[in-house]
């Protein structure tokens, strides 16, 4: 193997700055997409747990549509296809006037994709609760909305912290796919460093270390959340 090492390249300008900006971009789009995914995923998951057949048909369609198309292609659909299919004015606005179109598109695509996975967990969490909880809530005079708001959702969320942790970890990794529509996140930045300097070993090692650090941090934070949120008397 014939390779000249130069670890200093990682700490020289502009490459150090590229790494920092790339890391911040990865964290930013992942966190914002995660908020989108939690919000929409909770709504879809709750609706999916109801008994209305029409609503369940809709939620099942949402889930299977977003789960059965590769995320890379979903990014392309939101970025290249949707602006063409919208009425002219809206399409033009998306293409010309929306600030940071690639970043915004990546967040929409990543958020809606992850929402379908969160929805599955939320509805499974609600289904896993003892049926007595729903009955008791209704029997004590709560409306269906109140029963979900005060009894079912709070308990379900505490049960599904471990699978949600895994989805949360995945969103950071999936955010790398945003590079295909031109978002300069961490993977794109290190690939850029590699093609400018030919120091691929150093660049990809840096990315690996940063991704592993993110994963360890998320795991630790979520373990804390799990402990704090554990329902007393269970486990």
């Amino acid at each position: 193997m014939n390779y000249s090492w130069n670890w200093a390249v990682l700490f020289s300008e502009p490459y150090l700055q590229w790494l920092v900006w790339g890391t911040l971009m990865t964290i930013a789009i992942s966190l914002v997409s995660w908020v989108v995914a939690l919000a929409i995923g909770t709504v879809v998951g709750v609706l999916h747990s109801t008994e209305n057949a029409w609503i369940r048909l809709l939620t099942r369609s949402y889930i299977s549509l977003f789960r059965n198309i590769p995320l890379l292609l979903q990014m392309f659909l939101w970025f290249f296809v949707v602006p063409e299919l919208l009425p002219d004015a809206a399409g033009t606005w998306l293409k010309r006037d929306l600030p940071y179109p690639a970043v915004a598109t990546a967040i929409v695509a990543l958020g809606l994709f992850t929402a379908s996975r969160v929805a599955v967990q939320v509805s499974a969490g609600i289904a896993a609760l003892p049926p007595g909880q729903r009955m008791a809530a209704i029997a004590s005079g709560l409306s269906m909305v109140q029963a979900y708001r005060f009894v079912l959702i709070p308990q379900a969320f505490r049960v599904i912290v471990p699978p949600l942790t895994s989805e949360f970890l995945t969103i950071f990794k999936n955010s790398s796919i945003a590079m295909t529509i031109g978002v300069f996140e961490l993977t794109a930045r290190t690939q850029q460093i590699e093609s400018y300097t030919y120091q691929g070993f150093e660049a990809f090692t840096a990315a690996t270390v940063i991704y592993v650090t993110i994963a360890l941090t998320v795991t630790m934070v979520m373990r804390h959340v799990e402990r704090r949120g554990a329902i007393p008397g269970t486990l």
């Binding site: 193997m1 890379l72 292609l73 990794k173 790398s176 796919i177 690939q191």
Partner: protein, 219 residues
């Protein structure tokens, strides 16, 4: 919006078909290779030798912490360097996928092997089987049957993940669709068509996974 022209798809079918074959081939190789590697990793991870299980855990958790695109870049860069000459994207991508999938399949297999009740291990030991015999004759057959639906689900995810070879311009189905979309300037038609194809194939895969589930566990 005006002038959708879907004839571009029929014209490009042979090219797209070749791309789809590439996607299937990558999925197949990564699945078989990943399962074999995953099996070795799972057995190592359940080993009583602390050093061996820790090394296997490091491998699995390391690969699971980083994005597949980064793994693809790593091997696209490393393999020619190790071989000493350019080898083309395909070889690097195959190595990347097998090593990456091995980490995921090992977790599925480990969960399956751990779900085999301890009485089975004890009974196997009591009837005179060695460690490897117990795994091969008693534990694995049960674990594989139990985990079959999950392995198919992982296969569907893997099939979708093969689209990421786009980043090294290997001509799989996704890259081929994108090439046609851009050269023929038929972006809407091609990407919608590609989405429909992926959707149908992955839904079929999901249905197979559902059929493999034991009757009472079916949703």
């Amino acid at each position: 919006m005006s002038g959708l022209d879907f004839s571009v798809i029929t014209d490009a079918l042979p090219f797209l078909g070749k791309g789809l074959m590439m996607s299937f081939m990558l999925t197949g190789i990564a699945m078989v290779g990943g399962l074999l590697l995953g099996l070795v990793l799972a057995i190592l991870r359940l080993s009583n030798v602390r050093f061996v299980s820790a090394a296997a855990a490091l491998y699995v958790n390391g690969f699971r912490a980083i994005p597949l695109i980064l793994v693809i870049f790593w091997f696209y860069f490393l393999v020619p360097l190790a071989v000493g000459r350019p080898v083309g994207a395909l070889h690097s991508v195959i190595i990347a996928f097998v090593l990456f999938e091995g980490a995921y399949y090992s977790e599925i297999l480990r969960a399956g092997m751990q779900s085999v009740r301890s009485g089975q291990w004890q009974a196997a030991k009591a009837s005179g089987l060695g460690y490897m015999q117990t795994i091969r004759l008693v534990v694995l057959p049960q674990a594989l049957r139990k985990m079959a639906p999950l392995m198919v689900t992982q296969g569907v995810i893997l099939f979708q993940d093969t689209s990421l070879v786009y980043v090294v311009s290997l001509h799989d189905f996704m890259t081929s669709a994108s090439i046609v979309a851009n050269t023929q300037n038929r972006i809407v038609e091609m990407y919608v068509f590609a989405a429909v194809v992926y959707f149908i194939l992955c839904t079929l895969g999901g249905a197979i996974a559902e059929r493999l589930k034991p009757r009472r566990a079916r949703a």
